[in-house]
Structure formats: structure tokens, C-alpha cells
């Protein structure tokens, strides 16, 4: 059976198929000449744009001087930066490094064997396994543990509970479907969904997780689920036709009228330059939605529906106004984002310099002030950010 094809056989076949697919692809002289023409024309266009930007930036600085906040923490750095006055920085990492240093980010991640929880660090010991924090629970996180296998590029993925002490308690691997991507934690922290199953977390009446009571399967996701995309009163999943559904164990799935999903149970429909962002709707849930135009692609909504970050800017949903526009060099859709609170979001800005080892710096942008600051020193890996544990 093909389904039992060994991993290396599948990978070998894929390599051969990709090579074969492109064996007749070659660039001819016409393509090279067209490329040179295009490159020269693009450079001239960029120069014209830069000239125009220089003029407008001078005008912007004149307007900003009046309100800029005083320096906060780092005497060597300039004051918190309003994005609009750094729009000419052409390197996102340089922009991040230029920001003043603020407090450590109130997020959690695993960085090279160390569990970082805000400003606290927990040594996970010397081990080859890698952990990804997927969702916060009382006293820890739903986490993936990646264990290297005997073959190159082969890993076993084990889901379980990683406590703030660094103890890992795997869940049972009964009835899993590895073709279902994503994971989510229910709002009450009692269940988690991953790989097609919903399992108990072992949450006790005293509000603490008992790992020994965790892992039993409560339900299986509907067969058509291919990706778990969040929680919004029920688990939200995507099917193979790119339709989105909200579902709770024991209930029928409810289709969501979204064109695409946003993390944390939101989605949106597009109408030309406008989008309508709404949480997943279940029969018992309240309906709230935001219609916004000229925003680009919505990326994330803050807790309490206070703010929205899109591929172009941040919007204060209460006030209905944008409060931040990132520099052109920073593409938010490429950055990990994690809300610390309804008022501040952490962005992981990587160093894009080719040939340099991994590095990333965390940046905090605050809705109420419209200011950004550095929230970490340089990290030498690109960790997966998670919220702090639920209290």
C-alpha cells in the first residue's frame, strides 16, 4: 500500500519528481534581457519614490516634534518610536534594534533548551528534543515535543503538557490523525484539540492541572477537518475545500461565512478593499463584527476585541482609528505576533541578512500610546511565541 510507503521512499520519490518536473526549464536570452530591463526600470522607479519620501519625511518630522514622548529606559537609545517617523528605515531588523529597550516581553517560548516565561528562565536540560508551545493552560502549556528519529529528517511529534517548572507530561497517542494540522485549547482550559482528537487536560476543581488525569479522548473531530484554527466557543476547523466550521463535541458543525481565518477564532470576508472581521458564530454566541477598508489582510485581533493588526497597520477597534503604521521594511504578515494584553502586542522581528545565523529581536507595540520598544535582547533562534500560562 502506498499509505505504508516508508518515509525515505516517499522523500526519494518527491526529489525525483521535482527534478523531473523542471528538467526542461531553462532561461533563454530573451528572459535575461527582459530581466535586465525590468531591474533597471525598477531601480529608477525606486529612486523616484525615495526622493518623494524624503520630502514627505521632512514634513512629518516637523509635525511629530510637538507630541513625542520622553525617553523611557535606555539612555543610549532614542525615545519610543512612532512608526510613521521611521518609515524610511529599509531593514526591519535594524528598525527593531534601533528601538529603546523596554521590559522583557510577557510571553513564553523555548529558546535552545531554555523555557523563557517573561523575565524568568527555566533550564530544560541538555536534550535534543525541541518544544513548541501551542496554547496556554493553567500552570503551563499544550506543547509539541519533537524527538529526532533514527533517520535524518525524521521526527516523532508528541503532544502533552509542559509545566512552568519544565516538566513534560505526554498525552496518550490514541486515535490520532496526523494529517490534521494545528491545535487549540478550549476557553475553559478543560480540553485541547490536536491531530483530530479532543482530549482532557486534567484540569481540577482547584484550578490546577493534574497531568495524571489528562490525555483521555473526549471526542474525535469531524472527518472532514484538515486544520484546527482556533477556539471561539467551540473548536474552529478548516476542511479540504477551505471552508471553516465551528464545532463542539456532541454537536453538529456550524459553517462560518469566512473567506479566511484569523487566529483565536476570528475570520473575515472580503469585499473589494474592505473586510468584515467577525468571531466564529455558534447558535448561542453573541454576534459582533468589524467592517474596515483599505487595511490589507487582517492578521490578529487582540483580547477583548480592542485592536486589530493587519498586513498594513494596527487599528484601535474601539476608537475606529489606526494607531500604528509599521515601517515599509516590516511586513507584519511574516512576523509572529502574540498579544501580551489587549493593549500591547509582541512581534518577533528576524534578522534577514543572508548568510548570518538565526537571530530575532522581540518588539512591543502598544495600542494606547502608539509606540514601540524592544522587549528582548537578540535571540539566536526564532522561537515560537505563546501567551503566559492562564492563572
Amino acid at each position: 500500500m502506498t499509505g505504508n510507503r516508508d518515509p525515505q521512499g516517499t522523500e526519494t520519490l518527491l526529489r525525483e519528481a521535482l527534478a523531473q518536473e523542471t528538467r526542461h526549464v531553462a532561461a533563454d536570452a530573451a528572459f535575461v534581457n527582459a530581466t535586465l530591463d525590468h531591474s533597471v526600470a525598477s531601480l529608477r522607479k525606486t529612486r523616484r519614490r525615495q526622493l518623494a519620501l524624503t520630502v514627505s519625511a521632512v514634513a512629518a518630522v516637523v509635525g511629530i516634534v510637538g507630541w513625542q514622548a520622553p525617553s523611557m529606559v535606555d539612555n543610549e537609545s532614542p525615545g519610543p518610536t512612532r512608526h510613521s517617523d521611521s518609515a524610511r528605515v529599509d531593514d526591519g531588523y535594524a528598525w527593531a534594534q534601533s528601538l529603546p529597550r523596554g521590559a522583557d516581553a510577557d510571553v513564553a517560548y523555548v529558546d535552545r533548551g531554555t523555557l523563557v516565561i517573561g523575565s524568568k528562565k527555566v533550564d530544560l536540560g541538555k536534550q535534543e528534543s525541541d518544544y513548541h508551545l501551542l496554547g496556554s493552560l493553567p500552570g503551563g502549556w499544550l506543547a509539541e515535543k519533537w524527538v529526532p528519529g533514527a533517520q535524518p529528517n525524521a521526527y516523532a511529534v508528541i503532544y502533552g503538557f509542559l509545566s512552568t517548572d519544565g516538566e513534560y507530561s505526554p498525552y496518550a497517542s490514541v486515535g490520532r490523525r496526523i494529517d490534521v494540522a494545528g491545535a487549540a485549547v478550549s476557553g475553559d482550559g478543560r480540553t485541547v484539540a490536536y491531530e483530530g482528537v479532543v482530549v482532557r487536560t486534567g484540569l481540577q476543581p482547584n484550578g490546577k492541572i493534574d497531568p495524571s488525569a489528562a490525555g483521555s479522548v473526549v471526542a474525535h473531530l469531524p472527518d472532514d477537518a484538515v486544520e484546527i484554527v482556533g477556539w471561539a466557543g467551540g473548536f474552529v476547523y478548516r476542511d479540504a475545500q477551505d471552508r471553516f466550521w465551528a464545532w463542539s463535541p456532541g454537536d453538529m458543525s456550524v459553517e462560518q461565512r469566512w473567506d479566511a481565518a484569523v487566529p483565536d477564532g476570528f475570520g473575515y470576508t472580503r469585499d473589494g478593499e474592505c473586510v468584515t472581521v467577525s468571531p466564529a458564530s455558534l447558535p448561542a454566541s453573541a454576534s459582533v463584527s468589524f467592517r474596515l477598508c483599505g487595511l490589507g489582510v487582517p492578521l490578529t485581533v487582540s483580547p477583548d476585541n480592542y485592536a486589530l493588526m493587519s498586513s498594513r497597520q494596527f487599528v484601535n477597534l474601539e476608537a475606529g482609528v489606526d494607531f500604528l503604521t509599521l515601517p515599509d521594511s516590516v511586513d507584519p504578515s511574516r512576523l509572529q505576533q502574540r498579544w501580551e494584553s489587549g493593549d500591547s502586542v509582541i512581534l518577533a522581528v528576524p534578522d534577514d541578512t543572508v548568510g548570518k545565523p538565526h537571530s530575532v529581536v522581540l518588539v512591543r507595540c502598544t495600542v494606547s500610546s502608539g509606540l514601540c520598544e524592544r522587549a528582548s535582547n537578540r535571540l539566536t533562534s526564532i522561537p515560537m511565541l505563546a501567551s503566559l500560562p492562564k492563572s
Binding site: M1, T2, G3, R5, P7, T10, E11, L13, L14, R15, E16, A17, L18, A19, Q20, E21, T22, V25, A26, A27, F31, V32, A34, T35, L36, H38, S39, V40, S42, L43, T46, D130, H132, E144, W146, N153, Y155, V157, I178, D179, A181, D259, A260, R270, V297, D331, S333, R334, L335, Q336, P350, D352, V354, G355, H358, S381, I382, P383, M384
Partner: protein
């Protein structure tokens, strides 16, 4: 003053074919789209030509831009309006690869953009997970995750190709004999 166009031209002429193969795969087998992506990546390289120290660095830079443009463009495409009722979606120019039992274009186009990029970079360009993570600006674990999902899809696609009724289809037993 144009920047060292001769040297840039030599670079483009020398590396276009290799990069075009990657670009076409990143574009899901769409040659025209792949050429557009590569031209934009070369244009961005030319914009920074004076800052790039060596030919090897130039290729690495172009490849980085290429991957980012590919994942970005496909993401945008995904949000284009869906076909209205009655409209017929054009058939992709799919050529089934009977010999290997894998329809590469269909497989690549079925993958989300970043999974597709991971597949191309890992199994065509032979990049390490760390390099791919850097190219995509994500965690190495995310690369593992994308690769794992993409291989699961591949196995399902192989099931479909080998066992779906087809005029030209052959059973797995036939193929192995």
C-alpha cells in the same frame, strides 16, 4: 549612474536557469508566474547590488527574495474573490507524471504557500531546516511541521493517483512488477 550593469548581467545570465527552476516550482508549476517572481527577485537584488559582497551572496540574496515573494504572492492570490456562480474555473495545465505516479503540479498547488516553499527548498534545493527557517523567517520547528504535513498530503496524493480509476492508471502491483 547605473550600477555595474555588466557584472549584474553576467550574474543574471549565469544563474537564471537554476533559479528559474526553483521559481517555477514555488509557483506551483506555473512557468509564467515563476518567471515574474524571478524577475522581481533579480530587480530587488540589483537595487542592493553595491551592498552585496560576492557572487555567492548575490545568489543567496536573490533566492531569499524569491522565496519571500512566492509565499507573499500566493497568500494574496488566495484572498482574491471566489468565482461567482456559473463561472467555470480554468483547468490547470496539468501533465500527470505517470512514470513516478505523482502529479507534481497538482500536488504543489494543493499545498499552502509556505508548505510548498518548504517542499521545494528541502527536496529540490536540498536546503537544511535551519536554512529554510531563515529563508522563511520562521522557527526551525515550523519547517519540520510544514514538511511533515506536506509529506502526509503527498502520501494521500499518491493514494489518489495510484488507486483512483483512470484510463491510464496502473495499479501499484503493476508498477512494482
Amino acid at each position: 549612474v547605473e550600477r555595474d550593469l555588466d557584472a549584474f548581467g553576467e550574474f543574471v545570465a549565469a544563474r537564471s536557469s537554476a533559479l528559474l527552476r526553483t521559481a517555477v516550482l514555488l509557483a506551483g508549476g506555473d512557468r509564467q508566474h515563476g518567471e515574474d517572481l524571478l524577475q522581481d527577485a533579480f530587480a530587488e537584488t540589483y537595487r542592493r547590488w553595491n551592498r552585496i559582497a560576492s557572487l555567492a551572496a548575490s545568489e543567496a540574496y536573490t533566492r531569499t527574495i524569491l522565496v519571500r515573494l512566492a509565499t507573499r504572492r500566493w497568500r494574496r492570490r488566495r484572498y482574491e474573490p471566489r468565482l461567482s456562480e456559473g463561472e467555470v474555473e480554468p483547468e490547470p495545465a496539468v501533465v500527470a507524471d505517470v512514470e513516478l505516479g505523482l502529479d507534481v503540479e497538482r500536488y504543489l498547488r494543493a499545498l499552502p504557500a509556505r508548505q510548498r516553499a518548504v517542499v521545494v527548498l528541502r527536496y529540490f534545493d536540498d536546503r537544511t531546516e535551519a536554512e529554510i527557517a531563515q529563508l522563511l523567517g520562521c522557527a526551525p520547528g515550523t519547517v519540520k511541521s510544514h514538511a511533515s504535513r506536506a509529506l502526509a498530503t503527498l502520501r494521500a496524493e499518491l493514494e489518489h493517483t495510484l488507486y483512483a480509476p483512470s484510463e491510464a492508471g496502473r495499479s501499484a502491483d503493476d508498477r512494482q512488477s
